[in-house]
Each structure stands twice: as C-alpha cells, then as structure tokens.
Amino acid sequence: MQKTNWIKIFFIVLLSALTLFIPFDSFGVHINPIEQRVIALFVLAALSWIFEPFPIWSTSVLVIVLMIFTVSDKAPAMLLLDDGGSKFGNLLSYKALMATFADPTIMLFLGGFFLAAAATKFQLDFNLARVLLRPFGKKPHFVLLGLMLVTAIFSMFMSNTATAAMMLAILAPVLAIFDKEDKGRIAFALAIPIGANIGGIGTPIGTPPNAIVVKALAEMHVPISFAKWMFFAVPCMLVMIVIAWFILLKLFPISKKSMELKIENRFLKTPSAFIVYITFATTVILWMLGDVLGLDSNTIAMIPIAVFSITRVISKDDLNKMSWDVLWLVAGGFALGLGIQKTGLASHLLEAIPFASWPSLMVLVGASFIGVFMSTFMSNTASASLLAPIIAALGVSMGAGIDSLGGVQGLLIAVALSCSLAMSLPISTPPNALAYSTGFVRTKDMAKMGVLVGIVGLLIVFAMMSFLGNIGYFSKSKDVLQVSPVVTEENVKEGIKDLAAPTPLIQIIEVEKKEKTLEIRLEVPLDMPADEVLKIPVNADSKSLDSESITEPKIDAEPEKTEAVPEVAPAKPAPAKAPEAAPASPAPAKAPEAAPAKPAPAKAPEVAPAKPAPAN
C-alpha cells in the first residue's frame, strides 16, 4: 500500500476513534455506549467511502466485521464490561449482521446478476439492442433518442456500467467517423451514461442504491414490490430521458445528416440460448405480475439462479466472475442501517432534534439534494447507505406530516433516485468515466449536462412523490385496538412507541370512548403481522387498573370496506403489567411477510379471516 493511503487510514481511524469520546450527554443527546460505537463506525464508513484508502466494498466488509466485534451479542466480553443492562445499550444480533450477506434483497440482486450474465453470454444484449434500435431509423437525432431509451431499458436489468460499456462498444466505431467539428459527437457520447444512470432507477435491481432503500422499507414493515416500484419509477425514467434528449440536442446540435449503427450479431438458436430467452422473459413477467399472483419479488429472483445453474447456462467460472463486490458493498450498507435502527440510536437522536416540526417539503428537497451532492463525489451506493438509515428515522419521526409527499416511503425512494441523478463529473459514476475515456467529451460538457439533468430529474422526482402522496399510493391499513377505558390513550401511545421503536410506524388515528371499552383506531403497515400489533405493551399503572375492567382488552374487528382488520379473541392480561394483549392461541413465529397486495390472511395465522387488504 502507498504512503498516502496509510496517512488516510491513520486520520480516518483517528477521527472515528475520537467520536467515541464526544460527550453527547452534554449536548442534551442521551445515547448509550453501544450507540456511541455505532456512531463511530458510521463515521469510519463515511470517511473511508469518501477518501477511499481501500476499495469501497472493503469498507463494507470492515464495517460488518467491526460491528460484530463491538456491538453484537458475540462481541468479546471485555468490550461489554458494563452491567449489560439497558443503560449500556441494545446489542445487535450477530446472526442478523452476518445475514446481511445473504439478505433477500441481496438475493434479488443476485437473480438480476444471473439474468445479466446469461444475457451477455448469449449475446441477447446486442441482439435486443439491434432490434430495439431499428425503429429509430437513420436520422441522427432519433438514433440519439433510441440509444438513450435502449440504454435506459437495459440498465433497468443490467448494471449501469455493463450497459454503458456495451452501448459504447456499439457506438464507438460510428463516432470515430463523425466529423471532428460536429458537436453531435459529444451528444452521443453523453447520451450513453445519461441513459445508463437514469435507467438504473427503473427497477429495484436497476442500481444498488435502490436495494438499500428497498431493504430499509422492508425492515420498517412497508415493503415495496418490484411492480409497485416500476409503476412510478419507469414513467419518471422515461420523462427524464426525453427531457435529457431535448437538452442534449439543444446544447450539442448534430450536423451529420444520416448515420447507421452496425450491430452484426444474430439471435443464437441453440437450446441453451432458448433457455436464456424464456427464463429471462418469465422472470421479468413474474416480477411485474408478482403482486397479482401473490409472489414475492425476492423469491422470483431465485428462479433464474436455479434454472441457469442446473442447465449450465451459468458455469462455475461465470458464477465466480459475478460482481460479488457489489453485493458485499450493499451488505455493508444494510449492516449500517441495522446498527442505526436496531440499537435505538435513530430514535434517541431524533428525540434530540425536532424534525417532526420541519416542513415536509423542505425535508424531501434537502435530503434529495444531499443525495445528489454526495453521490456526485462518491459511490452512489455508499451515499445511499449513509443517507438511508438517517432519512428513514427522520421520515418516521415526522409521522403523518409527510404523508402528502408519500410518507417515509416517498422520502426514502426520493433519496435512492437522487443518488442515481448525480452525473456531472467523470468520477460521479463508472458510466461517466467510460464515456469520458472515449475522448469525445470534455469535463466541462459533462458538468453542464450533468447539472441540468440532475436538476430536472429532481424536479420530476419531487412532482412524482407529491402526486403519489396525494393519491395515497403508499397507504397503510387500519387496525382497531379495543381496550378497556381505564387504559388511556397515553398508555397505548407509550406502548406503541415501545413496540415499534425505533420505527414507530403504527399511528393512532382515532380514539373513541364506548360504554365499556375504548376503541383506538390504528394505522399499521400492511405487512405487520397481527400478533405483533397485539403485543403492544400498554404501560398502564397497574395500581389504577381494576382487574374487572381490563379483562377485555382486545383488538377488535372493525369491518371497513377496504381495510385489513385482524380479529382476535381477547387475551388474558398479565396481572402485574397492564393489558399486554398477547394472542390467545400459541403465538406463531412472526407471520410470513406478505406482499402488500396479497390478501391479508397471511398476516397472522391465528386471527380470524380478515378482509383483503386494499389492492391499491
């Protein structure tokens, strides 16, 4: 390793170690030792990702390993000398940390990798490009639009870098015969990275920042399916492409009158090739129809993995050559998110800062601009990894205040998209670097174009989130908790906070006093298992509770037209602690996570049939 690297490492370690000694208590932020360690690790990750003393994926590995050794339940005893009580902090499960390497969202990406590897191996990418580009003819400005659209479409399923490399390979011979004075060369060379970067936002597997956010949402019991993502992201992507095309034509007018892209390949007709075509098409169709068929996107991603493995479409060699570094990079981001959420750090920090009172539009705009800014200079994935856990906690703390902008989902998705909109420098993204290395583009041109596309893109994202918020695209279901009147609303609020900390996504929307009971209408995430809702510990003062009056705490069915309402038999309250509404029948392990549009029964086996969840 070089000397400058050692200096970087020294300062990074020094600065992150110093964070361990910041007296947060004196600033009025009360955090425990474990949480302070998580802050130090966060600083370590951020600095290593910015200054890159080693490859960015190595930082991820380092973060996971350090977390296991310092804040997990398998940390060496000497590091956990404290009483181990609540004051010391919540330890993370080491299994959960290790499991980030094979998280369902990682498997979703791996499925994408298998599809992309098979497609390139069997020339499907070149062949599709040839077919898709044909309708755009020979007029250069239409060819330009075609190239951008095709690049974007490929980039939805292949890595942005691989797509840009493939399209530049097609384009390079044509650009070489362009007139040297023709500004169109710049337009064409820039069109590829713009298409590749913007195309990444189209699907959850389009680019790793999407994975970070998809995972964060799943952790908060508000998962987003493949189709649900595409439904808003693809229109966003198409509008951005068309506007970027206009800007390119305006800034870099093409003088050439006619051009032809030569793609010589032919569709392979071997049995293996057909396996690739069929599996590719089936997987993509299943991803889009998953919600309707009641299939989970992550599970569907396992199909190409199995099919290509047993048919030897993907050999052992191909498997070894996959971009495992990308998956490990993402895993590190997941681990950071886990650390910030599960130790309770997020909720403690938010108690100290009054985010809830901030205007929601300001938070959305601010978070997105930070996303673009960070990822202009550092890896998009790293930026998303650092931002997502903070923004998630922030969004949750804002509660219903941000619903008009799509709630916490809208906020997080905007962050993911903004990380893909940074493309003003050659170092911003690998596709930019590739386009720059063709020699047809100057940094100045790229910066001008990148800033314009970034701003336009952000405006489109804001408009989309505001639209989705208003139509209630990311809506939640409503459950009704019926408890005895001596249990006050405050008790339940406390209970919800305890249960859902650090992500209190359950909200009380209405309280109604009845003769014998208090009905509390709750808004809960669609996939939250009913038994978890039932576990809301109602911290009432036991003395004030008359055992007679608390015998009937229950979550009652309140049939409402479109809402999922689990119905449960009343549970016997624990005498000492107030009505802990535990399910009457043996509590199953957490009910399987249901896809949002799936009928509600999957929520919790022991509850009586509930109404199907809104299909929205």
Partner: protein, 160 residues
C-alpha cells in the same frame, strides 16, 4: 502508481531508444525499462518481482549476443511468477523455425517485423497491457486514459 513495468530488450542501443520513444505516451502510467541483453533482462525482472512490482510486458529482439530473444521469452513463459506477462517479439532476423518456437514454446502474444509501424506497436502494447490489467485484477480505473477502449468495454459488458 507505476507498479507495472514494460521491458524492452535490444542489443542495438539506437533501436532500443527508438522502441522506448514510441512508447513514451505510456510513461505516466507504466515504468518503461530498457536492457541490452537477455541476461540483463532476466536479472531485471527478477529484481522487479522482488520489489513487489509487476512485469506487464516484455518486448524483445531475437538475435542478440548471448541468449537469444526467443530463448529469453521462453524462460519468462515458463516462470510461474510471470505467467500473466505479455510478450512481443520484435525482430527482422528470425527464421521460420525461430518463429514457430516463439509461438509454440514461448507463447508470444504478438510478432512485429523490423522496421515496425510506431502507431501499430503502440496500439498493440496498449491492448496487451489492458488485457494484463484486467486479467490480474489490478484496479483498471487508475489506467483509464491509456487503456484499449474496445478491450475494456467488452470486459465490462461481461463483468460489471
């Protein structure tokens, strides 16, 4: 940076200078060394390897006093430390048998006949070094300006 070495071998110093001059545009990214005999070359690559640096490419003449170029390249080919090293034979005097031996036993990657075309040589060198960098897993982003575009794009299409 500059951990990858290019070594040119020719007993005529003016020819050697001319080869090095043709490659001058790569100087910012690679260390370019010249030696006037096979023996010097072998001890040089030995030293480079013990410094922890890489031998990316050897360009050798054939007819030289002492060990011939083909013998030199064959020795390098059979040395496991240099199994990824790219090899170019640059000669005007190799006969048929020498050439066959160079291909079969020394695994040369390219053959140039003197006098050579400077641009062609430079392009071949770039292409071979790009392959070397991608094959050995060295971070290619540091070498972007001098890499062979077509080789890089094809690699990234399949591996990114």
């Amino acid at each position: 940076m500059k951990n990858i070495n290019i070594i040119c071998v020719d007993d005529q110093s003016e020819v050697l200078d001319s080869v090095i001059r043709d490659l001058r545009s790569l100087e910012d990214f690679f260390r370019i060394e010249g030696t006037e005999s096979s023996e010097d070359c072998l001890s040089l690559i030995d030293e480079i390897d013990s410094r922890g640096e890489q031998v990316g490419l050897v360009i050798s003449d054939h007819v030289m006093p002492g060990t011939s170029g083909v013998e030199l390249l064959k020795t390098i080919f059979n040395d496991s430390r240099f199994s990824n090293t790219k090899k170019i034979l640059l000669t005007g005097q190799a006969n048929h048998a020498d050439t066959i031996k160079a291909i079969n036993e020394a695994g040369i990657h390219s053959y140039f006949e003197k006098p050579w075309n400077a641009e062609e040589l430079l392009n071949t060198v770039k292409s071979l070094l790009t392959q070397y960098i991608l094959k050995t897993g060295i971070d290619h982003t540091e070498y972007m300006p001098v890499l062979d575009q077509a080789v890089l794009l094809e690699y990234l299409r399949k591996n990114a």
